[in-house]
Symmetry: C2
Subunit: 200 residues, 2 copies
DNA sequence: TCCGAATGCAAGCAACCGCTTGCTTCTGAA
DNA sequence: TTCAGAAGCAAGCGGTTGCTTGCATTCGGA
């Protein structure tokens, strides 16, 4: 038999992503985990402790590509941005719930804040490396540039399905457009090119 | 005496912004509106109808600057983006709650979706006008460019206070950086070189 | 003056919620 | 075989929640 504790945590995370803190009743979690409700309290003592544990164990399970020394920024940023988008899009329901619950349950914030914070640092450092490598010639604020791209990706991941009135281009187009725009914004020029001949 | 109906709607919106759908109990709204709980049901029949009415009346109360024919894009976009940021930042709690509740109460979505949708169209059209006016020389996807800026502003408005670990620059700096980056991205070049007032 | 509409008030109902208690059943190590 | 720990089960307790009912009060217009 699988560890019952993990089953409960996974079920709690699923229920939470769908119903938020208030909607995550202990009875619902018990049914989802196929476990008696009393068992939840024996393991975690409190609904709050249960949910906190469920979200914080999710925090450490992300696998995002690194951003090393820039050599082909368009490809590297593209891969990274695409992975980030899909990761956030996959957990968008949970993220939305946390955004609402954070006000009264700030202990849930780290589960959602830590990762974007980390990715923002990664991207900022990458852009700085581009600058020192002579790959980014414009005068730009690297943290703001990172925030702009991250914000664009995040918002698109959260809201994509809610603006289906107009025809939204496929994900790949949107993400690669974001990346191209950012590279343009920071004055990206492939090494060895003298005349502006960048066409994506 | 002020119209009791408006007082109820305003109170419901306040309570909702703080507690979300599930947390917005009819008793809480009644207290906030200084009205007997029964009165809520006599006016709106149902908690759901009450909240829906409260949010949809909020929808039409925004005052955002227009984006007309571009003449000084940096200033015009700066003013528009700043106003948009402050507007979203002021209603960030409500927006976050709606994001979580939308899953089970899609009728609340328009209250939050309509406006960004409208602003996105405005900005897209503005960028297109810049292009045809020769103010934007790069080869860019105008809808994606608009989405990038809007996404950056939106994310910053929602999350600004939750990333206080690092030193976040002042709002004005962030917004103007976003605008500069976008203008750079679309190849903005002032027409001052040839004639100062070519477009009027 | 009278009427009816709007509001207040007290009470309550059925369902749900977090959590507890007391008990039985199963399982695996000693 | 024994036994402690883990899990199930049934019941329930006090509190909350959406909503209803019945009745009293206020007040502006006819």
């Amino acid at each position: 038999m699988i560890d019952i504790r993990d089953r409960i945590l996974a079920a709690a995370a699923r229920v939470y992503a769908e119903h938020g803190f208030r909607g995550t009743t202990t009875r619902r979690v018990a049914v989802a985990a196929e476990v008696n409700e009393v068992t939840l309290f024996r393991h975690f003592g409190t609904k709050e402790a249960l949910i906190t544990a469920a979200l914080s164990q999710l925090e450490s399970s992300s696998v995002l590509p690194p951003l090393n020394q820039p050599s082909d920024p368009e490809a590297e940023l593209g891969a990274w941005a695409t992975a980030l988008f899909h990761h956030w899009h996959g957990s968008r329901r949970l993220v939305c719930q946390v955004m609402g619950d954070m006000q009264h349950h700030p202990e849930l914030a780290p589960a959602v804040c830590a990762e974007p914070d980390c990715e923002h640092s990664k991207l900022t450092a990458y852009l700085e490396r581009m600058r020192t490598a002579g790959l980014a010639t414009a005068d730009f604020h690297s943290e703001a540039a990172a925030g702009l791209l991250l914000g664009g990706i995040f918002t698109h991941a959260m809201w994509r399905e809610h603006f289906e009135t107009a025809a939204i281009p496929p994900v790949a187009i949107v993400i690669s457009s974001f990346v191209s725009l950012l590279l343009n914004a920071i004055g990206y020029q492939p090494l060895g090119v003298r005349s502006p001949k960048e066409q994506a």
